[in-house]
Symmetry: C2
């Protein structure tokens, strides 16, 4: 079911589309699903599609374009991937070479766009269940880590799972697993709980991405598959050309978070 975002957007999509807003999307369009973006030439896109299907915890697919089309009707009738994110990253050979607010001049008739679920959706569900999230309370980016868990390889795409970490009390942790299990399209249940060393994280105070998050004495860390995984893998696999969102500047879809719940 696609709900028009235009009824509640307060004009933010126009601001993004025209390039007048190029910042983070956290907290914008409350209730609507936001997504990670990855765009590859068709040749690489075929491998990447299988990579997402093989690794649904870090890369839950919300939508894929037709080759050459920048429209994404699976997640919104009005979306144009060339203009509708505040900030894009352009990658050559595994390196980000520039950040842009518009990629119309880079679009090609062999490009395929992928919208991948984002933790903002399950964070809304956790907060609605009364669970406090420290990085949000403190206005920080979530802590993210490379693990020693390999993603399933798809063609040229191979590399480690990246996880995001949220600490909470044990009773909240149990509830969080229940809540997130309802949302498999946005990373679903955690992939790990407890000892970080078991998944190859040697220093929990030093995240590989994002900012550190304190873990209190009576808390346990929960680890979710993270949508940063594709960007980490792009750095390793070094495709000649691709485009992603800039971290935190997500695609705002026309789907409601609540509509993603499977139960």
């Amino acid at each position: 079911m696609v709900i028009s975002i235009n009824t509640s957007d307060g004009g933010f999509r126009d601001a993004i589309r025209t390039g007048s807003y190029t910042g983070q999307t956290s907290g914008m369009a409350p209730g609507f699903v936001q997504a990670n973006l990855a765009i590859f030439p068709k040749d690489w896109a075929e491998d990447f599609l299988r990579f997402c299907l093989y690794n649904p915890k870090p890369c839950p697919l919300l939508g894929v374009t037709e080759p050459g089309s920048s429209r994404l009707p699976m997640v919104g009738a009005e979306i144009d991937l060339c203009t509708d994110l505040p900030l894009y990253r352009v990658w050559h050979d595994g390196q980000c070479i520039e950040e842009l607010s518009d990629i119309r001049h880079l679009w090609r008739d062999d490009l395929v766009g992928f919208a991948i679920g984002c933790s903002f959706s399950f964070e809304q569900a956790l907060q609605e269940a009364g669970i406090r999230l420290r990085h949000i309370d403190q206005g920080r980016n979530v802590s993210m880590y490379r693990t020693n868990i390999p993603c399933l390889t798809a063609g040229r795409f191979r590399g480690p799972l990246v996880v995001s970490m949220r600490p909470m009390k044990a009773s909240d942790a149990i509830r969080a697993i229940q809540v997130c299990s309802r949302f498999p399209n946005v990373h679903g249940a955690p992939v790990h709980i407890g000892n970080p060393a078991q998944i190859g994280i040697t220093d929990i105070s030093k995240p590989d991405y994002g900012e550190p998050t304190e873990i209190l004495e009576d808390e346990i860390p929960l680890f979710w598959g993270c949508g940063v995984t594709p960007q980490a893998i792009i750095s390793e696999v070094k495709p000649p050309f691709c485009i992603t969102h800039s971290p935190g500047s997500m695609l705002i879809t026309e789907l409601l978070n609540g509509a993603l719940a499977v139960l």
Copy 2:
């Protein structure tokens, strides 16, 4: 939905009913729900019913009799609580004074019987999900502990929550929380995960009931509300007269474990 147990019982109910079998019921009538039993005079039963409603994690109510009736149609058309458990405990003033295989001579027209969900049901679901349970693999009783978590008080019934503990790897722990969440009538999701000290367990190697269970280096302990809670509370509250099952010798109902799943 009540499924007749007689099609698959191999005569065990007759053996129990006639007193020729007085042992444990673990593994008997596979697939059928087993239950903890508590029987109180009507005066005390009124408090106990509210105690169960207030504390559904340790005391999930599967069935209650009409006062004076030993039949329990909520869980089986043919059940007679006076004869259909292998072994009963009779309690006077909070002390178990005898174990009997038949309580017909003790039945009174003011008694009320309670069937309370038992971990055997969710253990079946965990095993069907491929999760190994060490105490079962080793043929031991599960480890149980008094906690510092108070049950909600109902009239004269008050006391600490008793939990059962099962250790498992983190990925199995997450799956176990999902699986058990489908079975709220048989203790549901764990009440705690991780550090035993947080719920007042000072020495995990010394359970208050049952037998010790080793926790391996890469495992995390999960704690479920336990049907032993009522017997622990009977010891404390000391009602003048009551009857329970003898630990491990449960009421075998006519309900299927699978039929208890809420989803």
